[in-house]
Symmetry: C2
Subunit: 346 residues, 2 copies
């Protein structure tokens, strides 16, 4: 842990950003919240505690003016949770970097931007190096469950022939925006229309696959991506959305990496309301073979927050530049030192 708390600005106050804010405030020995940025008119000007659902006022007002917040607060780290797409956030990232702050971002396309947007990635890397700071994209997926963890699963393997990663997410247990993101409640026709327009589905599967391939040093001939609706067999009410039988419950999305002429990397993601159980699985056809399961899965809403916050000390200690999770030390929980008051459970 750093010697004195790192100064943190929260950039983006959607559900994930709000949870990150609460987590930052819950770790006062390690992190000090010094600023909060969001453009939503119903959030600007309010105490961030009020926006993020915290009991105690912080004295920090949400601002829609990043330059002023960054200049006034001089943060060590910006925790950045605005949107999924690199083009939309590139300027935001550069602005934070120019203020001399590390940036840990949930922007999915930033997790491995080198293939999709090599020029943008190169420019961001250049700015980060010039300013002596680290920029990294992370989260539960992309950032962990379907890339960093599968890579770590191969840690003891000498011959790897193929890797298969499967993640099943019961979207009904997740935050409302995710239920919307997977199309829960749409007709199949509406889903297909959105899918054709690229406005539905999970962002980052391609990035995860590329991070795994890059980490292994495997050149990818091509990536085959597919997106289908999962339809509800029986009605589902998540408390947030109601889905009738036959309507879309969510997505089944796949990315297959063709390496040396064969399908050797498979990422298979199902996120839908009414899923029987969430789970994560990584199977490695290798020496030794590995068959790893996370029963109940890695719960995304919480783990995305965890990945963002836990990456702070790893990024702050890394060599400057645009980094991926595969370049940082093994991720691990940060600032969870138990007090004698807390109960242990075994």
């Amino acid at each position: 842990m750093p010697d004195s708390p790192l100064r943190v600005v929260q950039y983006g106050l959607g559900p994930i950003g709000q949870a990150v804010t609460r987590t930052v405030r819950a770790k006062p020995d390690a992190l000090t919240l010094v600023g909060a940025i969001d453009i939503a008119p119903d959030k600007v000007g309010r105490d961030v505690a009020d926006v993020a659902g915290m009991d105690q006022e912080t004295g920090i007002q949400v601002s829609d003016d990043p330059d002023t917040v960054l200049a006034d607060t001089d943060p060590d780290v910006v925790l950045h949770t605005t949107t999924s797409f690199l083009d939309d956030v590139a300027q935001q990232l550069e602005r934070c970097a120019r203020a001399g702050s590390h940036v840990i971002s949930s922007t999915e396309e930033l997790s491995f931007p080198h293939e999709r947007a090599p020029e943008t990635a190169s420019r961001i890397d250049q700015v980060a190096r010039e300013e002596g700071i680290v920029i990294v994209g992370t989260g539960v997926n992309p950032g962990y469950a379907m890339d960093t963890l599968p890579l770590a699963v191969t840690g003891g393997c000498t011959e790897v022939k193929a890797i298969r990663v499967e993640r099943v997410v019961d979207a009904g247990a997740r935050r409302a925006p995710l239920q919307k993101k997977v199309g829960a409640g749409l007709s199949v026709e509406a889903f297909e229309e959105k899918a054709a327009g690229g406005t539905i589905g999970h962002v980052g599967l391609r990035e995860s696959l590329q991070m795994v391939a890059d980490g292994l040093g495997w050149p990818v001939d091509r990536i085959e991506e597919d997106l289908h609706p999962v339809t509800a067999e029986t009605p589902v009410d998540t408390g947030v959305r109601s889905v009738a039988a036959g309507e879309v419950a969510g997505i089944h999305q796949t990315a297959i990496g063709i390496v040396a002429g064969a399908s050797r990397l498979s990422l298979d993601l199902k996120m839908y309301v009414g899923a029987e159980a969430s789970s994560d699985a990584v199977e490695v056809d290798a020496s030794p073979p590995i068959d790893l399961r996370v029963h109940g899965g890695v719960f995304g809403d919480t783990a995305t927050v965890g990945m963002l916050v836990n990456t702070v000390p790893l990024a702050a200690a890394a060599a400057p530049g645009l980094r991926t999770m595969a370049e940082l030390p093994v991720p691990r929980a940060f600032a969870t030192r138990p007090s004698t008051a807390s109960a242990a459970t075994f």
Copy 2:
């Protein structure tokens, strides 16, 4: 992958060292074997291919003179597999470091030496920094299954209350020295005598616990260690050793970390012949909770070799000094690029 193959000396040619040697030779694009060291009179002077069970002669004779081998071959990396104890290898490590070579070692006590032998660790670190090289201890256990992997499992957790790691190893499927190490075939009395003398059991459980605690930033009040024999209920013949009913089949060894007054870290290791199935499990009492299982376990003989070889590029790119696996990037398979000739399996 490095641009040109790294020059490797193999130091120690027991079963693990032999397997490492074969693996190095199987990765000619990435690694070049340039020397081999062992003190066993029946190995010295023979071609290392002959000692390690490879078909093709290498032209490299096994030498019992490390200084000459290191001086003559000028290796980038020494893969070091001699013994478990730091005091026995400290001079070997320093000798390699002074020759300007990184050292990846299977010495169990080296995996996290800072608590058991802070002065030795400090001296080795100093030498490594002076020479601009990295020294790291790794393997499947310690080095992966009960420390690096459990740490990585907490990557998305925000509140961690306790971690429980359980590893079950069917020793009958493992190499002969491991079967001996766990006491298979001993009487309970003989086992207890050896246990009292500290000459039986797994080395490294304490180090694994300390690596996890250190990675989390948890101060450990004390560690409670225990070692018991597992006795065979029915006779077991592994092909290497015969164990009668009532004789020792192997070990049940535990290390409990007391943190903030409570048992919060539990490492539980069973290694015995006749175990129904090998397995690894990591349970994290946290937000989110994690219940991870590796069905069939991470097979140790192969994965130790994998960890040693896979750590080479990570260590070679790290900042000089004595490192632990928790300080290096996420471990992943190295130099496994498939050829079009090899079959994929899904």
